[in-house]
């Protein structure tokens, strides 16, 4: 085997942009808030917990948490399960949409570790819609990502749904809360 050449692995989109150094995937299980809610609300049965519109989401600029890192880099801690163009490179920020776009009210969520405080946060990756693909800062990381038949954990879906346009522009990463400690 040509192990030297192929010993590295990289995300699909890493190879498109050649701009991302590979992150260390979390090896912890995902039995945090998401798994508990999915079981309790849906009874572990058919319907998954779909992320729905969240009103009055606090923005990152509240300064309520330590939050170092470069929001224009795929390595930024919030982007552990992102897939798409970073809105912070497209006229928006990590948690706001570019001018003239429309934020999707439904999306997938991830659980990312903030290295500053060692806590895991629930991240809502709301897409910004209504303009063609931004094309800048394409990132794809897949911690906790699951196949598209489990929509709430899938970043492969076009989440420009419930918006006036299904055309995808970029993705945000909005903190919605702390993950419960794993049991």
């Amino acid at each position: 085997m040509n192990s030297d050449k192929h010993s590295r692995s990289g995300g699909l989109v890493d190879r498109l942009t050649e701009s991302l150094s590979r992150s260390v995937a979390s090896r912890t299980s995902r039995r945090g808030l998401l798994g508990w809610l999915g079981g309790a609300v849906a009874g572990g049965a058919l319907l998954p917990l779909l992320p729905v519109a969240r009103a009055a989401v606090p923005t990152q600029s509240s300064g309520s948490i330590a939050d170092r890192g470069d929001p224009t880099s795929c390595d930024y801690w919030r982007y552990c399960a992102i897939d798409g163009f970073l809105c912070s490179c497209c006229g928006g920020t990590a948690n706001t949409c570019p001018p003239g776009t429309e934020q999707s009210p439904v999306t997938w969520i991830g659980t990312c570790l903030n290295p500053d405080d060692g806590k895991k946060y629930i991240i809502s990756y709301n897409d910004c819609c209504g303009k063609s693909g931004c094309g800048s800062c394409m990132c794809n990381r897949n911690e906790g990502d699951r196949p598209m038949y489990h929509p709430s954990k899938s970043n492969d879906l076009n989440w420009c749904l419930g918006t006036s346009s299904a055309i995808y522009n970029c993705s945000t990463a909005i903190i919605t809360g702390l993950a419960l400690p794993e049991t």
């Binding site: 040509n2 572990g44 209504g130 693909g133 897949n142 699951r146 879906l157």
Partner: protein
């Protein structure tokens, strides 16, 4: 002859000679190339989802054994906004499910259609308007399915409500939309049924009547743990059994010969000592025309690496589950495709430079990298 008459005669002769010469070199206009009505079975349809310009997606018709770009590139079809593609062998047609908006990339009114192309002319010979609900996202082969008699085409919808649109390809009409709450995709089973994969690890089967209208549905028990070891959204079909690889490297076999899917005992792609090797990629499994299975494998799989692709393709006898060989890829691979029959079986591997590498099967001899230009050729279909 008087001098003036001679001059005029000579002039007329010269003009007529000039006109005749121009006619000899003039080329006909309006000539459109045609393809054969039946494609060589090694040809491929390469779906460029055009990720950075999604409305300009394409399906290219390619001869992967031709040696130059111009001879490889046979023609193209549009596949707007990450369309879905299905080969129609019985009628010699292509089916492309795509999305259009009245204001282009600005949005506007959305229209989803099944566009029907003919093999030879690659012209649009018809379209069927379906509910503007189809799932758009990374391309998965199970986002679209066709009944074995190729009469019914089934398209997965996600709004985020989940359903399947049924189209009659003979009458070219929309038949029905079938809700599949909590379950995604469409995998035909039997003659008039399909199943969808549910978020709790079970399968939901929908039975249709002969005309394609929904008749009944049923649910299996949970077959796998979606959080711990989910199945990929792709399978390799061999002798009527769909083999779904999982993130950690098992394979879940599902028998599709009856109207209800029947799951079999899962089996491992790896020995215990090899468990760091895992399948990965956009489409990490295919079977060739002989039913031999090929899995795209990465050497250091872990949580979050299931889309990375791999450095090797492992070849399996899908009946005995015996690994026959390991093919080391020339370039890191992202997704697999196949075409051809018998001695002409080919493997297509979209590599990490977004070029398509061609290998002979089953031995894995590298043929060449296709010269065609495509932005994101992430799905390869065979003409066989």
């Amino acid at each position: 002859m008087k001098p003036l008459t001679l001059v005029l005669s000579l002039l007329a002769l010269l003009v007529s000679a000039t006109v005749l010469h121009a006619d000899d070199v003039a080329e006909p206009m309006g000539v459109i190339q045609q393809l054969p009505a039946i494609y060589p079975d090694h040809w491929m349809m390469i779906h460029d989802i055009s990720f950075f310009h999604m409305s300009e997606g394409e399906v290219l018709v390619v001869d992967p054994l031709a040696t130059t770009q111009p001879t490889q590139y046979k023609g193209m079809m549009t596949a707007s906004f990450i369309g879905a593609y299905q080969r129609g062998r019985i009628r010699g047609e292509h089916y492309v499910v795509e999305t259009f908006t009245s204001r282009g990339t600005r949005g506007g009114e959305r229209t989803d259609v099944v566009t029907i192309y003919d093999n030879a002319g690659l012209k649009v010979k018809g379209e069927v308007i379906i509910p503007a609900k189809r799932m758009t996202g990374m391309p998965k082969p199970i986002a679209i399915g066709m009944s074995p008699d190729e009469r019914l085409l089934m398209v997965y919808n996600f709004t985020p409500a989940q359903s399947v649109s049924i189209v009659d390809l003979e009458s070219r009409s929309f038949i029905a939309e079938v809700p599949t709450p909590g379950c995604g995709f469409v995998i035909p089973t039997g003659q008039r049924s399909f199943f969808s994969i549910c978020a709790n690890g079970s399968l939901r089967t929908t039975h249709l009547d002969q005309a394609g209208k929904p008749a009944s549905s049923e649910q299996t028990d949970k077959l796998f743990d979606v959080d711990v070891d989910p199945v990929f959204e792709a399978f390799g079909l061999s002798d009527g059994v769909a083999h779904f690889p999982t993130f950690q490297g098992r394979v879940l076999p599902i028998n599709l010969t009856g109207e209800s899917p029947v799951s079999g005992e899962p089996w491992w792609l790896t020995e215990t000592s090899e468990r760091a090797w895992r399948p990965a990629g956009v489409r990490p499994v295919i079977t060739d025309a002989n039913g031999v299975g090929y899995f795209l494998m990465q050497p250091d799989g872990a949580e979050g690496t299931h889309k990375n692709g791999g450095s090797e393709v492992w070849v399996f006898d899908m009946k005995s589950h015996e690994r026959k060989t390991r093919l080391v890829l020339k370039n890191w691979g992202l997704t697999l495709g196949t075409s051809g029959r018998g001695e002409n079986r080919l493997l297509a591997v979209t590599n990490d430079q977004m070029k398509v590498d061609i290998y002979r099967l089953p031995g894995g001899e590298f043929v060449h990298t296709l010269g065609i230009e495509a932005a994101t050729p992430l799905v390869v279909h065979g003409a066989h």
